[in-house]
Amino acid sequence: MIPASFDYHRPSDMDGVIALLNEHGDDARVLAGGHSLIPMMKLRMAEVPHLIDLQAVDSLRGISINGSRVTIGAMVTQHDIINHAELAKVAPIMRETSLQIADPQVRYMGTVGGNVANGDPGNDMPGLMQCLDATLHLVGPDGTREVAARDYYEAAYVTAREEDEVLTAISFDALSGGYSYEKQKRKIGDYATAAAAVTIQTSGGKVSSASIAMTNLSDVPVWSEAAANAIIGTACDADAVKAAVNAMLDDIDPTEDNRGPVAFKRHVAGIILTRAITRAWDRA
């Protein structure tokens, strides 16, 4: 499995990255952890004449927590997230999700930026970013801009990011309350058959606000406002959870693949969301 030949670049700052993207246009792509792009290059499904490795761009590596505002650089790895004590305290759902991505070796390399930016429906971070209403920070030749995660995903591998833009960070407000990321997969390292990200805030023994997003059940991550609305104002009793599941099932659009037929995926999605809501409620 030998990929097509390419020129390798390792710029040390974002100006260098942007300059290379400008110079080489569609012939250039950035490389983060490489665990999506390199397999595609090995299969020659991606041809990248100019590969721009982001590993030396230190500005992409930080995790900063400012009050409830969490900012995570694009090159922060899943391993970094799992081992960041302060982040685990402020936004434990980031750790819970990261622990369910791939396997230990891949998590040392796999980055938040790659997971978020690529637009692969199988990735876990896109759904989580929608659940958290995260902001995606992009930089391009015309400067920086921000895109809401909920507006970013257009179709499989098609996103709001322009070809000459790079995702530099994600940020979100970490709300206290219950949370859960539940994922059903066939084996370690597999993408989800179905996964659900749920956050719940409570007041007076009832859900005061909630957010629900689903992974790998459509060609984009699915943020289901209707599912969240179904549990708001309730004590997450069985009927409310069932209503949320039904609302979610109206929003997803899974396709048959080697993880199973559509009916099975819808069945699993219902079970996973039920578990996620129940766990988030228990933790709220």
């Binding site: 020129d7 390798y8 490489g34 070796q105 390399m109």
Partner: protein
């Protein structure tokens, strides 16, 4: 090819400098260029973990890294952990507890396990299983691999205590 790069690697404490195409996968660099054949090629798709090496303190599957990415890196392979005359505690434990049958996955298993024990010197069985989830063995059913790693952890901890 015209686009060869000057690459520097430090593998098991020894410096290497050579010209290579950036697209060369690190596992081929190690095995075919440097003749370091401990890391194996199993699936070549980053699933099986037979090619696991330690790069700058991280367990990495060397089939999913270009040599260009590793330029300047410190790399440890199974050869750097121990050999027939100076076995690593993990190698002894795998032998003692029958942690291998055909042995094909073993270099990756032990290299990964060494990093796991460095980060978590006293793991539970569950933590060992979770920490080794990136390495596949088709012979042993994992039972004896887990046993070997737990035994090595005990031994390393006992040696540490004795030294204190």
């Amino acid at each position: 090819m015209s686009n060869k790069m000057h690459i520097k690697l430090n593998v098991n404490g020894e410096g290497h400098e050579f010209l290579a195409e950036p697209r060369e996968l690190l596992i081929y660099t190690l095995r075919e260029r440097l003749n370091i054949t401990g890391p194996h090629i199993g699936c070549e798709t980053s699933h099986c973990g037979a090619c696991t090496v330690t790069i700058n303190g991280k367990s990495v599957k060397a089939c999913t890294m270009f040599v260009a990415q590793a330029d300047g890196a410190d790399i440890t392979t199974i050869e750097g952990l121990g050999g027939p005359d100076n076995m690593h505690v993990l190698q002894e434990a795998f032998r003692e507890h029958h942690g291998l049958q055909c042995g094909y996955c073993t270099p990756g298993m032990i290299t990964r396990a060494s990093k796991l024990l460095e980060e978590n010197p006293n793991p539970t069985e569950e933590e060992v299983r979770f920490g080794m989830a990136g390495n596949i063995c088709r012979c042993t059913g994992y039972q004896n691999i887990v046993k070997s790693i737990l035994a090595a952890a005990s031994e390393l901890n006992a040696a540490k205590e004795a030294a204190e």
